[in-house]
């Protein structure tokens, strides 16, 4: 499984277009070859950090198919025009560490971040281990994936994508944030006060409403 995740930021005078843009992108995406599944939604403004206005997550079988999609006639003919004038950050990643429990509606949340160069390899490995503790202990995480980025386009060289699905936003803002394995263990890598600090503060938190599991 290879995921392409695009975060689309509209210019200030077009910010109100996020819902119609998401709808038109959905129509265009239906014509793209190689796509196994796709989810496009306006970004929830709740707890959003540098997330832009529209989030587009595509599942492909292989990285080759993901990279080929921008040459697809439907992309060249429609998608490119829809994205004209917007800033698009794109990360592509193979999903190797994940657990998915298919479920109905809820929210999907991703933290997209960059481990700074001094964090490799030891700090990044310790960060992975700390994050992977969370689904084992935070009961509200129903699906998750921790992925290393292999394709990155945009202003920031992101290295990681940490995704979860919850039954509701409360699962994120409640138990996930309050759990001691979060603030007592994993957060050290994100907190500038810790010697373990390795995550660039210019990160992305993106949340969107889902009507079914979008992580395969």
């Amino acid at each position: 499984m290879f995921v392409s995740l695009r975060l689309i930021t509209l210019p200030p005078q077009r910010e109100a277009e996020s819902a119609p843009l998401a709808s038109r992108l959905r129509e265009a995406a239906a014509e793209l070859a190689g796509l196994r599944s796709c989810w496009i939604a306006p970004v929830s403004p709740v707890a959003a950090i540098n997330a832009g206005h529209v989030v587009w997550r595509m599942n492909f079988a292989t990285e080759r198919e993901a990279l080929a999609v921008t040459l697809d006639p439907a992309w060249q003919g429609t998608v490119r025009g829809l994205l004209d004038g917007a800033n698009v950050s794109h990360v592509g990643y193979r999903v190797t560490r994940s657990a998915v429990r298919p479920a109905a509606g809820g929210i999907w949340r991703a933290l997209v971040f960059r481990v700074m160069p001094h964090g490799f390899p030891d700090g990044a490995r310790a960060l992975d281990d700390a994050l992977l503790l969370m689904p084992a202990h935070v009961s509200t995480i129903r699906s998750w994936a921790l992925s290393r980025v292999s394709v990155c386009e945009g202003p920031k060289a992101y290295t990681h994508v940490w995704e979860q699905e919850f039954d509701s936003l409360d699962g994120l803002t409640g138990e996930y944030m309050a759990h001691p394995v979060h603030w007592g263990v994993a957060d050290a890598f994100f907190d500038a006060e810790f010697p373990e600090y390795i995550v660039d503060p210019q990160l992305v938190q993106v949340i969107g409403a889902i009507d079914r599991t979008i992580m395969e």
């Binding site: 944030m177 603030w183 007592g184 263990v185 500038a192 006060e193 810790f194 010697p195 600090y197 503060p201």
Partner: protein, 113 residues
């Protein structure tokens, strides 16, 4: 729930007095503004610093539960901007005086049957 934040800082030989002054004047006021309360400060070797020997300093802070912990973590400057860069600047500057440093989160022990 009581949450404690313990700084354990190994200071280079002959820099301990300088470090203690810097911590007291550059770090403590901001931390207190963020809701942290200094519960104790200790050192080893005890009593005094010894020439040519590293001194390890311990600073124990408390915050008001998980909400207090996140309040200090996500703190803002008076103008509403993110304070993390000021916090990072302090630690980067002061780490020039140290050999190593740990920060650990502590709590009361769970009750045993």
């Amino acid at each position: 729930m009581n949450i404690f934040i313990l700084d354990e800082i190994v200071v280079k030989p002959d820099r301990a007095a300088e470090y203690r002054r810097a911590y007291a004047t550059r770090y403590v006021p901001g931390a207190e503004r963020r809701g942290m309360r200094l519960a104790g400060q200790w050192q080893t070797p005890p009593v005094r610093d010894f020439a040519g020997v590293p001194t390890t300093l311990f600073y124990l802070w408390t915050v008001d539960g998980v909400a207090g912990w996140w309040a200090q973590r996500m703190s803002k400057l008076p103008d509403g901007s993110d304070e993390r860069f000021e916090k990072l600047a302090w630690w980067q500057d002061s780490d020039m005086m140290t050999l190593s440093r740990k920060r650990r989160m502590l709590s009361d022990q769970p009750e045993t049957a």
